[in-house]
Amino acid sequence: MRWLKATYDWLELRLKLEGPVKDAVLHPVPRNTASWWYVFGSAAFTLLMLQIVTGILLAIVYVPSGAEAWSSLQVLNHQLPLGWFLRAMHGWGSNFMVAVVLIHMAQVFLFGAYKFPREFTWTLGVFMLLMTLGMAFTGQVLRFDQDAYWGLGIGASIMARVPLIGGPLVHLLLGGPIIAGATLTRFFALHVFVIPGILLVFTALHVWMVLKLGINEWPMPGRTVNRKTYLQQYNHLAHTDGIPFVPGAFWKDLVFSGAILAAVAVCAAVFGPYGPTGQPDPTIIQTVPKPDFFFLWIYAVLSYLPASLETPFILTAPLVGIAVLLALPFYAGEGEKSWHRRPVAVLVLALVAVSWGTFTHLGTYTPWSPVMNAWSADTVPPHIVHDLSPTERQGAVVFQAKQCRNCHSLAGEGGQRGPALDSVAARMTEDQLIRQVVQGGGNMPAYGTSLSPPEVTALVRFLGTLHAPNEPAAKDASQAAMQSNPLPANSQ
């Protein structure tokens, strides 16, 4: 063991690291801070390291070429021993990293940890979140499959909406006039060099500030932050009721990081790697592109916006959102930290979380997308056509053949872009049905030119049978009134 000590001394004399490391390791943190709530930051760091290691391992094989990227992923998935597992670790690591970073941010927000003197730690954190999302998006592009290809198309179409410089931005994003090899190489440079480089520098600064400013104390109702007195109070707290960071708080960080790594590995082993889906051949148009999990909510929001609001929303909402996040510590840099005294903050967080969850859920089953093969894949259930007249049955055929089913469901099958038609006859009279079919409107195309009059008649007769047995068919209210009350009221 003496040689070990000698080696250490030899190195330490030259490295001079013992002092700073001891300072960092042994600095006192408030006792309550050694909590399981404070483990997400270090877990995000661990995941970043995992992403770097797995990323480098993948880069040994991956070919960032438009022609070969997809097949190099096939080689990774199917031919190299454990290539699939590394892709899965990298993909799931990315999912976990985005999730942990968001949880970390929510916790910091809830605990008021962004207040004085940690404003800039938060600001830097916001940029790190953006870069994490940037890594997720650029990584999805490197998976150069159909989803990546059409995802880039969506990116370019959004860029094109920027006033004045939209065209140049599209060319810059794509690296040329179309989505192709030049697009992939620039996203490769972003994903592998530019963003991780900046992210590492920011992470170092972020951790440095955490070590120098101390970990946020456990928020107590009534213990407000004041710029004049806070530093003194915190120092007092850390020294009178504090424990050394290592091992007091750090063991929980270690355990949680280990658990997260294990969770990533289990997900990777059980669920396997993401894709790649079909090869990025733009002439294969039988595709239903969908973004990765963390961008599903944007996909959902975009489809619910009225056309006139879309461009202003896409171009300003992200900027406003980022500006709000950046401004937060400067607007609310002092005062209460405890969530018991910050009802608005708690409600905002809950609202954001619920909205995100709702939109993500909607994004997973996309009720706004037509089901492109419903007209040929989902048959009209036999019980619906069982007792119908020949004309009505012909209408059911028209209903299928004219792709109505792509947007309208029957018995739960078919698209959900338009309303389900199981009881449409209870809502609309024959006249209204004819008008809707022929003229369209309310987000439905007009079928006047693509249906012959007999087809319209058959279709509307069929639709007229679609109501539950105990449900009366819709009646023209004016005619019904005339029939039930033939004489005009003579009360005048």
Partner: protein, 203 residues
């Protein structure tokens, strides 16, 4: 060894003189060095901006006439998928250099050639001859046979390429992915055929 390190430190502390003139000369030299680096940096970096902006070209610069093959492939009254190799491409583009478009033969050698990309967010639209509609799988944009907007989120009709017939071949003027800012052909300011977000509301 420990001692020598200490001596070094002593020496440097002793050397740092309090004479303000010495200090100011060094600061001037430092400033000079910084200035030199700045000038060289700018001189080198500015041209590199052009490298970065290389892909940006003015409208139509990427376009050229390209053949979709014989006119006979596109029977009158029908709309068919055609593919071509984008005229501007790189050797390593692979299959991404290919592009698809919809060709509609409206009769008497008149055509409409539509971009595959939905005018909303660029997803590939599909033609359904039975109902004479183009449908987009992403957000449900729908277009009529002539490319005009029928319903859904798109704010305009499909992008259309200019075409001409050379001998018995159909040629189109193409080269870049059509978006709202980089249309398939030079268009007048976008004609919005759905003033209030509803393509087919009468009046």
């Amino acid at each position: 060894m420990t001692e020598s390190v200490h001596e070094d430190q002593k020496a440097t502390t002793q050397q740092a003189p309090d004479d303000p003139r010495t200090v100011s000369r060094r600061w001037v030299l430092l400033g000079l060095g910084a200035l030199l680096n700045g000038v060289v940096g700018v001189a080198v970096a500015v041209p590199v901006v052009r490298y970065l902006l290389g892909p940006v070209r003015r409208k139509g610069a990427y376009n050229s006439w390209i053949s979709l093959g014989s006119v006979d492939q596109f029977p009158e009254g029908e709309t068919r998928l055609a593919t071509y190799e984008n005229p501007f491409n790189r050797p390593w583009d692979g299959e991404t250099a290919k592009t698809a478009c919809w060709v509609r033969n409206t009769g008497s050698n008149k055509f409409q050639v539509f971009a595959i990309n939905c005018a909303h967010l660029g997803c590939p639209v599909r033609w359904f001859p039975q109902s004479s509609l183009f449908m987009c799988p992403c957000h449900g944009g729908v277009y009529y046979a002539d490319g005009s907007r029928a319903s859904g989120p798109p704010e305009r009709g499909l992008f259309e390429y200019d075409y001409k017939i050379v001998g018995s071949e159909l040629h189109i003027d193409a080269g870049q992915m059509p978006t709202l800012a980089t249309q398939a052909r030079n268009e007048l300011p976008v004609i919005n055929n759905s003033p209030k977000g509803c393509g087919s509301c009468a009046g």
